[in-house]
């Protein structure tokens, strides 16, 4: 099974506003795909559909060989344990400390003794440079630290798919690069399939192999990340270079 994620003609609308109008996309196993596009074009919606957190109006979605459309919450839950997700605004549990947050996926998956879990959590926290702050509450952390706890939690259970929703949103260039270094180190270790959404195209392009461009509810371009700046498609070029004049219409939420 060479593709980890496959979407086929997926449609999704919210209060009669069509967000996705026929998205087809596949991510090869072990590959790293970036997803970019104008604001409110439905990037985060695709991520939620892949995790089965929401159901599409139409179309088929296959994740790790299983069709997830129409599945009930419990079987979906078991599949989700094989997917790690870094949420855009961190989604850290405010009733647990840092150690509790990172250990949570392992505790829920079961099959590991408490001290095995503790050891695994310890190594993950050291890998993201948070060795000293096990007992800190999420409210005491800076933006960058919350991001790193999110990364540790997403990768602690060695998930076969890892999804990053805007990993560098609101961070300065240096902090952004430090975050992407962590993502690259994780991928080198686990070779998990990666899907990353970002509006910071330059930083994203250095991390992923390929980039897909979502515009008006459909994937209009897909190509190697290295040459995204001079992509053949004029709309993509205008978007990536941030040029004001060009075919890309003024986008309204």
């Amino acid at each position: 099974m060479t593709t980890a994620i496959r979407l086929e003609d997926v449609h999704k609308s919210y209060d009669h506003r069509d967000v996705l109008t026929g998205v087809s996309l596949d991510v090869p196993r072990g590959g790293k795909l970036g997803l970019i596009g104008p604001a409110a074009s439905g990037k985060s919606v695709i991520l939620k559909l892949i995790c089965g957190l929401e159901q599409p109006d139409r179309g088929t979605i296959e994740v790790l060989g299983q069709n997830i459309v129409g599945k009930r919450e419990a079987p979906l839950g078991d599949l989700r344990q094989r997917i790690g997700m870094l949420f855009q605004n961190y989604a850290l549990f405010d009733f647990l400390d840092v150690k509790g947050n990172v250990a949570f996926p392992l505790e829920q998956r079961g099959g590991m003794s408490p001290d095995e879990i503790a050891k695994r959590v310890e190594t993950r926290l050291r890998a993201v440079g948070l060795a000293g702050s096990e007992h800190k509450l999420t409210s005491e952390l800076s933006g960058g630290m919350k991001k790193r706890v999110g990364i540790a939690r997403a990768t602690v259970a060695d998930a076969e798919i890892v999804i990053y929703d805007e990993p560098s949103a609101g961070l300065d260039p240096v902090t952004t690069q430090k975050i992407y270094d962590l993502l690259a180190a994780d991928h080198a270790r686990t070779h998990a399939t990666v899907l990353a959404v970002s509006s910071d195209v330059v930083a994203l392009a250095q991390f992923v192999d390929e980039i897909a461009f979502l515009y008006r509810g459909q994937i209009v371009y897909r190509g190697p990340a290295a040459t995204i700046v001079d992509a053949p498609d004029p709309i993509v070029r205008q978007f990536v270079r941030g040029e004001l004049e060009g075919p890309l219409a003024e986008v309204r939420a």
Binding site: P38, A39, G143, P173, G242, L244
Partner: protein
């Protein structure tokens, strides 16, 4: 003789953590001054002191030859009419249309009748190319468009200085460059002094006259963008090129 806006030995700390350590900064009339630095270094904190949203612990702040950091809250109205501020979250009222939002300061300060204020508001929105959305509500628009409307509202009182708190953060490349061009245009055509807090390199090197680099609580260096790019200082170079490795401390990481 002090400069148009001047911070003298300004110190500020939050619950014991020092953010500004006797920092000095002088800004001339009519220039576009950028304040840059990594996330969490206290850029936004600096400009909020200028209009009394925060109070400094020590030091002095001068504006147009007059000391402003000791004015009590109830007498700050005249100063706030001369120094406007555009927040990162654009702070429009969701319960009012764009025109009503922009008309609010006109109604409250220039004693305009409601209809006259609405007409003037439409003219102000035209300055930021948003007049066709005058009767729409903020929640129906994209972040970039809300930001432009917020700029129109701040300009309604024709201030001498406008403070921008990370105007392009979180916007996709196209909307970000639109905001940059707008800031540059308004500064030059209206003779407004613009103080912009940002960590977005295309903005910094796109529209800044001068740049103040905030690091470890002090202004590390003040230079034109060209001087900055050529600066031998390793910390400045690491920030500009967004390198994760290097001597730079990142409190926000």
């Amino acid at each position: 003789m002090t400069a148009y806006i001047e911070f003298k030995n300004v110190s500020k700390s939050f619950s014991g953590k020092p953010v500004l350590r006797e920092m000095n900064l002088a800004i001339d009339k009519g220039e576009v001054m950028f304040i840059i630095g990594t996330s969490g270094v206290g850029k936004s904190v600096t400009i909020k002191h200028l209009i009394g949203l925060l109070r400094i612990d020590a030091g002095e702040i001068w504006f147009d030859g007059e000391r402003v950091d000791q004015i009590p809250e109830r007498n700050l109205a005249p100063l706030r009419k001369r120094i406007g501020m555009v927040f990162q979250s654009s702070t429009l009222f969701d319960s009012m249309t764009l025109a009503e939002n922009v008309a609010l300061p006109l109604r409250k300060h220039q004693g305009m009748a409601h209809h006259a204020a609405l007409e003037e508001a439409k003219r102000r929105l035209a300055q930021v190319y948003m007049d066709e959305y005058a009767d729409r509500y903020p929640t129906e628009l994209s972040d970039g468009m809300r930001k432009r409307a917020a700029i129109a509202r701040t300009l309604a009182l024709s201030p001498d200085v406008v403070l921008f708190d990370e105007p392009t953060t979180g916007l996709d490349p196209i909307s970000a460059r639109r905001i940059d061009r707008l800031i540059r245009e308004l500064a030059k055509s209206l003779g407004v002094t613009a103080v912009v807090v940002s960590h977005d390199p295309p903005s910094i090197f796109g529209i800044a006259d001068r740049v103040a680099f905030l690091y470890r609580g002090v202004v590390h260096v003040v230079a034109t963008p060209a001087e900055l790019r050529a600066s031998p200082d390793p910390i400045v170079q690491q920030f500009i090129n967004g390198k994760s490795s290097g001597p730079m401390e990142t409190p926000g990481f």
